[in-house]
């Protein structure tokens, strides 16, 4: 119980830090802290495989991708010369929505209802032993037998993402903001050639 409260405090604080930090790098560090606490919380939920996956995929892959983009975009003059955040006109409705939603939630969960009660698929055991609930063997058996179709759909999603990213940001990406701007750029280039400029 005390572990839950400590981890929850870390997660809430780092989430708030993430969305309020001025520079994106600080947000990234806060998000990293959040993911570490979340992985620890997955461990307390007997999900050891997903805790490791969380660390590898999120902290290792996705956050590094964010870091690369931040480093890439911040190399020149400050690219994020954005105006003030939209805090003033959105803050009050957002806070009201949160309060209403959480009030509804605590009301609905006054007594935790269990409408369905599926039969357990595996046995509980201490984290780290083989073939207990949430271990790699348990997860893999479920993934490759009962849930093979979602696994294949995962492969499809990843392939679509890879193709989309290559099309969007690849070396030869034919990105044109609009037809008019493309014509304008073409015309300027032609005039420059006619002028004989370099």
């Amino acid at each position: 119980m005390i572990v839950f409260w400590i981890l929850a405090a870390i997660m809430l604080a780092s989430a708030m830090w993430c969305i309020t930090a001025v520079r994106p790098v600080y947000s990234l560090v806060a998000l990293l802290l959040h993911f570490f606490a979340l992985a620890a919380m997955y461990l307390t939920l007997n999900a050891e495989f997903l805790a490791v996956i969380q660390l590898i995929v999120y902290s290792g892959a996705i956050l590094i991708l964010f870091l690369f983009v931040i480093a890439l975009l911040s190399s020149g003059v400050s690219p994020f010369s954005v105006g003030p955040d939209r805090l003033p006109r959105i803050a009050y409705p957002a806070v009201a929505a949160i309060v209403v939603a959480l009030g509804f939630l605590t009301y609905a969960l006054g007594g935790v209802v269990r409408p369905v009660n599926p039969t357990p698929t595996s046995t509980l055991g201490p984290v780290g032993t083989a073939d207990v609930f949430g271990s790699v063997g348990d997860f893999g058996k479920a993934l490759f037998t009962s849930y093979l179709l979602p696994f294949e759909i995962t492969a499809l999603v990843l392939m679509v993402a890879v193709i989309g990213v290559i099309l969007l940001a690849g070396d030869q990406a034919p990105y044109v903001p609009s037809r008019k701007q493309a014509m304008k750029a073409q015309r300027e280039m032609r005039e420059a050639i006619v002028r004989g400029g370099d």
Partner: protein, 104 residues
Amino acid sequence: MDVMAVPVGYYVSLSAVIFFIGVAGVLVRRNPLVMLMSIELMFNAANLLFLAFARAWVHNAGHIFAFLVITVAAAEAAIGLAIVVTVFRSNKHVDVDDVATMKG
């Protein structure tokens, strides 16, 4: 099925609060990178809920679905960052309020 050390309702409340922090981040911030990070926060709140209920029912369908969500989040982050890079290439600065070329 045994009794969890922490009731499921606590996890639900924590997940809801983190989800709404993510929503607030998307609504309030104008930096597209921070908005994408807030979306990641929301994904993770959903994942925490999946794992909490999987643990409550000792049923690993929640684990499978959390795995699926992680995959989708990875794909979303890659595509979102590619869009940010593309917009930065053409506009030289990134402000989500100025990006109206996708309106069609």
